[in-house]
Amino acid sequence: MKHDRATEDIRELAALYALGSLTQHEARSFEIHIQEGCAVCEAEIRRFARTLAEMGFAAEEVTPPEYLRDLLLARIEREGRPAAPPPAPAKADKVETPREKTAPSRTAPLFAAPPKRESPRIFPWILAVALIVLAAATFFLWKTSRDTIDQLQATLSASHSDLAELQKQIDTGKVRTADLEQIWVIMNRPGTRIARLIGQAAGPSNVGAILWDTGNTECLALGTFQPVPQGKVYQLWFFSATKKVSIGLIRADSAGRFFIKFPVPKEAEGATAVVVTAEPDNGSKIPTVPYCAAGRID
């Protein structure tokens, strides 16, 4: 809406526009109003813009450093000659109409007045900020990926460990299954005799059993014994009324468990008891006392 006279509101708006004290939104709205052809508002802006220019005359004069003149000369040498001038204005002191303002060279002073909208060399800063944001985003993605990879690696490592443990349990289970199968097979044979090993004075917590397959002249020794003294080894004997026959050496694992199959010599026929003694490392021809375990053969 064009105005037909200058009101106080218009003067205030024009004064604040010329001072550059309007907000960006207010200034833009006012510029649009001027460009729509309100000569009243335009005249007010020009009046105040000129007044502000004259305010500059009140500044105290200060002599700049001498070298500034040389810097200016160096700069304009570097910048080169100015661009070709646009066509000369028809009348020097004519106030432009809004339509004439389309020539940028003649409207620049009026609309350059609000200094807040001037942003010198802003593009390099925008570029710098964009690069910083990009670098931050890249670092964030890299860090996130790295964390994810670390987590996956940890999970994979744990899985490997679980798998190894599981495999170990499977292997142990397989061994026990095989042991049980052997026990089952031997116990189902008709000539199998069983002796239950009971701990004696030299090994009161020892427990075990002997499955003697008399048909195949072999026996299976199984049980859990307490650790044997340093430099000693357990030795299994079959006792009869007249003989004490060595069957073999029992070497338990770290937990004291053993599951060993021994051949049974012919001279052991008629044995009625089994005895386990602690003997020197290579075994002994005669069992020593006290016994570590003993049992009657049923």
Binding site: E8, R11, E12, A15, L16, A18, L19, G20, S21, L22, T23, R47, F48, R50, T51, L52, A53, E54, M55, G56, F57, A58, A59, E60, E61, V62, T63, P64, P65, L68, R69, L71, L72, L73, R75, I76, E77, E79, R81, P82, A83, P85, P86, P89, A92, D93, K94, V95, E96, S105, R106, A108, P109, L110, A112, P115, K116, E118, S119, P120
Partner: protein, 229 residues
């Protein structure tokens, strides 16, 4: 509190109205008799310089620089408050003139256009550098005996500003030398935004009337030493 720069230089013979006196009368003391002042260029001479600059004459630019740099440097120094930034702003002003001499607004006199460009460049640099606090602490005291504009114009500007009521001086000072928005000024001085707007309008309106009255009297008297108008 904003350090007002509107006080006249000591010993220049100005008669200022007291604060609060809104009488428009301003007494101008003619200083053209002072022979130690360098004679400022007339409007016609400045326009001729701009024409030569448009044609790519570097010597015209250096002449313009030699004749006008003190006022513009004082102005940008007053706005920016530190010499390094002021020197860069001053170089910006003359580089702009060299690159776009035809952009001059013919409605403004050459010196008015130069002060307009200088203020815009300095405020742009001020906002960019965020040097408001440093600026407030600065007070130029390096007075130069040479004159860039006619003494009458300089005196008129200083006296007119001095004739404003203190609130108008303060608010126009903030707006002119800092380029702050009304709400920012209101926050700085602790007054309502509406009061800031009113004082800015009344102050600027009064200055405009004073300048126009002076020019009208000058035209009537046909005073040849009237300066750059």
């Amino acid at each position: 509190m904003f350090q007002s720069g509107f006080q006249p230089a000591p010993g220049n013979g100005l008669v200022l109205p007291k604060h609060g006196n809104i009488d428009n009368s301003v007494t101008i003391v003619d200083q053209t008799a002072q022979t130690d002042h360098e004679v400022p260029l007339s409007n016609e001479a400045l326009v001729a310089l701009f024409k030569r600059i448009e044609d790519g004459d570097q010597s015209a630019l250096t002449t313009l620089y030699d004749k006008t740099n003190r006022l513009l440097y004082g102005l940008v120094l007053r706005i920016l408050g530190d010499r390094t930034s002021a020197e860069e702003a001053l170089l910006d002003v003359y580089t702009c003139i060299w690159k776009e001499p035809a952009s001059r607004d013919p409605v403004l006199s050459p010196m008015e256009w130069l002060t307009t460009i200088a203020r815009a460049r300095a405020l742009a640099r001020l906002h960019w550098n965020k040097q408001l606090k440093r600026k407030s602490a600065f007070q130029a005291r390096n007075l130069d005996p040479a004159m860039t504009v006619a003494p009458k114009m300089q005196d008129l500007a200083r006296q007119s500003l001095g004739s404003l009521v203190p609130a108008q001086q303060e608010i126009l000072g903030w707006a002119y030398y800092s380029g702050l928005s009304c709400s920012e000024i209101a926050a700085q001085i602790g007054k309502p935004v509406g009061a800031v707007k009113t004082h800015a309008r009344l102050g600027l309106n009064k200055l405009s009337d004073l300048f126009r009255q002076f020019l009208a009297r000058q035209n009537q008297s046909g005073d040849e030493t009237g300066g750059n108008q």
